[in-house]
Structures are given as structure tokens and as C-alpha cells.
Symmetry: C2
Subunit: 346 residues, 2 copies
């Protein structure tokens, strides 16, 4: 995520992680796998985040990454001795890429060099613990839905804008997965055929949203328009605020495209709230004021969603992994309870 | 719905209604309220559609419409004497407009002159029967999901294209309602600000999908481009097939816009199938061949939905109302069963 802030966000928490609302009352290990770093944490039974670690991501093979994740779980388990009577009961993992949450399979994670890896099953075999696996942007959205800016909504969209754009779509209280193919908002085509837009996306799409509205897209579009070296989206927002007309046009085009996507989702899904997360959300009013205005202009009788900055910043991945691990335990406890769907062991 | 066929659809059934798959095993009354006609039917416990009636819609007041609906229910109940031991146990009603299915309230139905009418409760009070109320396009989609072209899918979009465009979005097996504001695909904005498109929509929107891709939009765009009197979309499709370049452009623009909307939904929801229903679906290959081709061109790594014509034609409203009434009874039976959520009476 290359974008920074021009104004401090009101609700983002980029520092110490909050106490998490755990429902199952058991410690868990939370792991956030990024293209650069693997962050891991022990979260105790009371939801306090303990022993946060980060180290460079082991790239090159699924085996190397699995070894690294198993080691991180073992370290968190060792750290748990000081924080309660029992070790961790589950592991939550989020990775960037196409992930089939239901089957626990990484379909494609180009940054990590993974394709069709049954990561959930393999990590579970190595750790002896149940594992929840998901896509990072969907996880970040789930964290906002459970404890953040989308809390209390029934239907919500969380758009994570960094180098690319990911999203989470919660419909009637359920995080939609689409067998791994849903919520790919960054690669939503935005233009009718034959209309001019920004450069073709790396995915092959002619008019993907992230070519306009991601931090990476804003930076690239400004460099292309000016001939200046590639910088960050933060600099483009700052130049726009200082009156640079090219920067203002690039930022305006990005906001227009994002507003159109939000208005389209408002038409089809009618979410109560749309949350903007990720680095670009730190642009603050320079993003949110025109975004809200343009969404409002595009809608007529539709229900207008609130458009809000995310509560969680860089810690969203760890928080999401802890909450998904907790959810897994909660479902197992429910299933094991008298009258539940499954009286089996876990 | 002003569009007709240039080729007979393979799967549409515009004649006799099929036997419906009823789960609750009770007769129901199915009512389809249109801007012109009210159609009603008795559906017996075995799902056979009996005693179909239609009469001009009573417009002018909610009271007049309620009187008409109550009469239709009474007539169906009287007709039921010859078709089983018990009278109808529930009523299903679909109306065009903004409907909050959950609360049973018509928020706005301009064709019918209704605003904020608690139709479900009032019809239930007049008939003594439980009533299910919904939006007509969502209902048509539900019928396709339960018994038609979207059967077996977990996530599906059904787009009903007639004078306007309505839709049903089924996400992970649940018909999404958005408190009445969801699924309004006809009023999805399609253009970035400042880009040229067709005429402004009656809803006030600058680039609503139905201005390009509805039967009404196609007919209007052709009349505007040629100066000819307003005809039907069927004539425009026929002219395009005969080589009229203006007609080909108008049809092509409509298909492009529809393909973009389908590709956008594929990105966010990843439906297994997109069903095209309504009058325009009778255009057959002239619509489906280029539509599938353009959707395919717009997508890259995304899951490609099947794009299929609807199974049900003009009878979709009656079928949907019967199935929703049956669903209501099924939920009540489940709730009343030992171990269910509600041991109450009904």
C-alpha cells in the first residue's frame, strides 16, 4: 500500500491493536500473510493481542511458506504459556489472492507463487489445529463488519484500496465468497467497449477499476500524464491540493471511477454502509468529501449508503485472522452443543 | 414488455403453466399484479395450476386494489372446492415497484399509484390468510432459481428485461432484498461523469442501464436516431438483422451495456448463472450470441457465468407468487414442528 495521509483519519487505528471481541473464549493464533511480511500474533481467550511478530515472507514454494507458518504457530503457542491455562485452539490465516474460503484452497496468489494449494488442510496437518483460511481483503472487511465501521449493518461493502483494490461484500449478514471468485472489485470492468480509459490491467482487463482508483493506479496515471518518475499516490493527492491541474484530474478520475462502482453496488445490493480501507483511505477528506458528493449525484431513488473510513489500518489482517479463527471455534462449539448439528469431537 | 421474438427460445414456456414443486402440500392462491392486468390462480396441493383468471388492474387507490385482490382470493377459494379437501392456506402476491419483502410494504409503485402501503398486513386482514408480498422481478428470479434456468445454482442473477429492467439477485441461496432497495439493476448507472450516453432516465439518473438495454430503451433510441415514430424493440432487432446500420448500432449499444452490467456482477458476486427473462429474452440468438461473446471479452481470470434464457415467460408472476406462498407455509410448518423455533399456531 503506497498511499499515505493528507489528513489524519478520524477512526483508523494504526497503532496498538484493540482488544478483540472473542466469542468462543479460547486463545487463537492469527496470521496475516502479505507479499512482503508474515505477521503473526497470539490472541488470548479475552481477546488481548499478545506477542505480535513479523518476518519476511518465505517465497519460492508452498512448502517453504507452510514451514514458516507452522513455525509461527509453534512460537505463538510457546508464547501462550504466559497468558492463560491453555494453548491456542485454532489458527486463522489470510493471504492475498484468489482463495476459496469454503474449501480452504489458495486458487492463485501470484505474489506468493501459489496455485491450487490446499493450505488449510496442510497447515492443519502440520499444527494439529483447525485452520481458517481466507482472502485478505475479504478478511479486512469481515473485521470491519464484526468490530469496525460496518458494525451493525446487515449488508455492507468494504473496499480495501492499496497498490491494488480488494473488497469484502457482506450480504444479509454473510460474507460472500463466490467460491473464491467473488468480491474482486479491483478487476471490475468500468467502461463500455470502445471507450477510452487508463492503461490495460495486468490481469488483461481493458478497464479494471484499480487502473483508476487504486493507489498504484493513481501514481501510474500521474507519472504517465506528466512524464515524471513514478511516485506514490500520496504525492499526487498533495500536488492536487496545491493546485496542480494534472494531479487534480488524475485524482478526480480515480474518485469518479470509485464513486461509480459504489453507486453500482448501491443499486444492486443496497448496502447500509460502504467502508473504504487500505492505504488510500488515509487521504481523508481529500478522498471522502468528493467521493460522497459524486455517489450522491449518481443515485436517485436508491438507498444511499453511508461512506465511511475503516476503523482498522495495518492491523486489519491480524484482527481478521483472529476473528475468523474464533468464528471457526464458535461454529464447532455450536455444532457440538446438545441439539446442534453435529455431536462429534474437535 | 414490448419486445417479441426473432427466434423461438429453446426453454421459455409461454403456454400452459407447468406443475409446480410445492413443498408444504397445501393449496395456495397466486396473484400477479401488473400495471394493466391482475392475474390470479388457485394452485392445488399437488402444484397443479387451476382456475387462472385475469382482469384489468383496479387503479386509483390502495383500497380499490385491496378490494380487487380480496375478491380474487375469494374466487380462487370458491374454485378450490372442486380440487381437494381444503381451501387455500396462503396467498402470494407480486407487484411492480419498490417492495420491502421482509416488512410486506409497497414502498413505491408508480404504475399502481401506491406509496408506503402495508399491503401484506391489509390483505391478510381481509382474507384471513397469511400473505407473502414481493417485487415482481425478484419473484420472477425466485421462480427461475427454484424451478427454472437458475435451478441448482448457489449464486445467480436473473435480469427481467421488458419495458424497463428488473432483477433478482440470489446470493448463497438467499434472495437478496436490500430492504426493498436491492436488485434495481435497471437503474444502475453505467457511465463515468461527463461521458455521453442515452437520454436521462425518468428516475432522474444520467446513465441508467435500462435507457440502453430495456425493450423500451432500444425502441426509444432507435426512434430518436432515425426520426421514425416510436415502435417496438422487436422491429429494431428485425431491422438490425436485415442490415439497417442504425438499428444494428442501437442493438449493439444495448447488448454492450447489458454485457458490462453482467461482467460487473460476475466480478463482485461470481454467480454460476445469469438468466435473462422478460420480453427481450425472446429475441433469442440475436441477443444471446453477442451478449455471451461480449461478457466473455470483458472478463479475464473471473469465473464466467453461464448466460441463459429464462424458462418461464408470461406466467412467471403467477408461478413466483405460488412458490412464495408455499415457502411461507413451509417456514411456518418448520417453525411449528417439534424442536422448531416456534411452537405457535397458524
Amino acid at each position: 500500500m503506497t498511499a499515505g495521509s493528507t489528513a489524519a483519519p478520524a477512526r483508523a487505528d494504526h497503532g496498538r491493536l484493540p482488544r478483540l471481541e472473542m466469542r468462543a473464549g479460547r486463545p487463537v493464533v492469527a496470521v496475516d500473510v502479505g507479499g512482503t511480511l508474515v505477521k503473526s500474533a497470539l490472541v488470548d481467550a479475552d481477546g488481548e493481542v499478545r506477542a505480535v511478530c513479523s518476518e519476511p515472507t518465505a517465497l519460492g514454494s508452498a512448502g517453504a511458506l507452510l514451514d514458516q507458518l507452522a513455525r509461527a504457530v509453534a512460537e505463538a503457542a510457546a508464547a501462550s504459556a504466559g497468558h492463560g491455562p491453555t494453548g491456542p485452539s485454532a489458527v486463522g490465516v489470510h493471504v492475498p489472492g484468489l482463495v476459496d474460503d469454503t474449501r480452504g484452497v489458495v486458487l492463485l496468489a501470484e505474489n506468493l507463487g501459489l496455485r491450487d494449494v490446499p493450505l488449510r488442510e496442510e497447515l492443519s496437518a502440520r499444527t494439529g489445529l483447525p485452520v481458517s483460511l481466507g482472502n485478505d481483503a475479504r478478511g479486512a472487511g469481515f473485521a470491519e463488519f464484526r468490530m469496525g465501521a460496518a458494525r451493525g449493518a446487515r449488508t455492507a461493502v468494504v473496499i480495501s484500496i492499496g497498490t491494488g483494490i480488494g473488497a469484502a461484500v457482506v450480504v444479509d449478514g454473510h460474507l460472500h465468497d463466490g467460491d473464491g471468485f467473488g468480491c474482486e472489485l479491483g478487476h471490475m470492468p468500468m467502461l463500455l467497449p470502445g471507450r477510452d480509459g487508463p492503461a490495460r490491467c495486468a490481469c488483461g482487463g481493458a478497464s479494471c477499476l484499480e487502473q483508476w482508483a487504486s493507489a498504484g493506479g493513481v501514481a501510474r496515471n500521474y507519472a504517465r500524464a506528466t512524464g515524471l518518475p513514478l511516485g506514490g499516490a500520496r504525492e499526487v493527492f498533495e500536488a492536487a491540493a496545491l493546485g496542480d491541474p494534472t494531479a487534480a484530474r488524475v485524482v478526480g478520475d480515480g474518485v469518479d471511477a470509485l464513486a461509480l462502482a459504489v453507486a453500482q453496488l448501491a443499486t444492486v445490493l443496497a448496502p447500509e454502509v460502504v467502508v473504504i480501507a487500505g492505504g488510500l483511505s488515509r487521504a481523508g477528506d481529500a478522498l471522502f468529501v468528493p467521493l460522497r458528493e459524486r455517489v450522491d449525484q449518481m443515485l436517485t431513488f436508491h438507498r444511499r449508503p453511508r461512506v465511511e473510513p475503516a476503523r482498522f489500518g495495518d492491523g486489519a489482517g491480524v484482527i481478521a485472522s483472529a476473528l475468523r479463527a474464533d468464528e471457526l471455534l464458535e461454529h464447532r462449539l455450536e455444532a457440538a452443543a446438545p441439539g446442534g448439528a453435529d455431536g462429534g469431537t474437535w
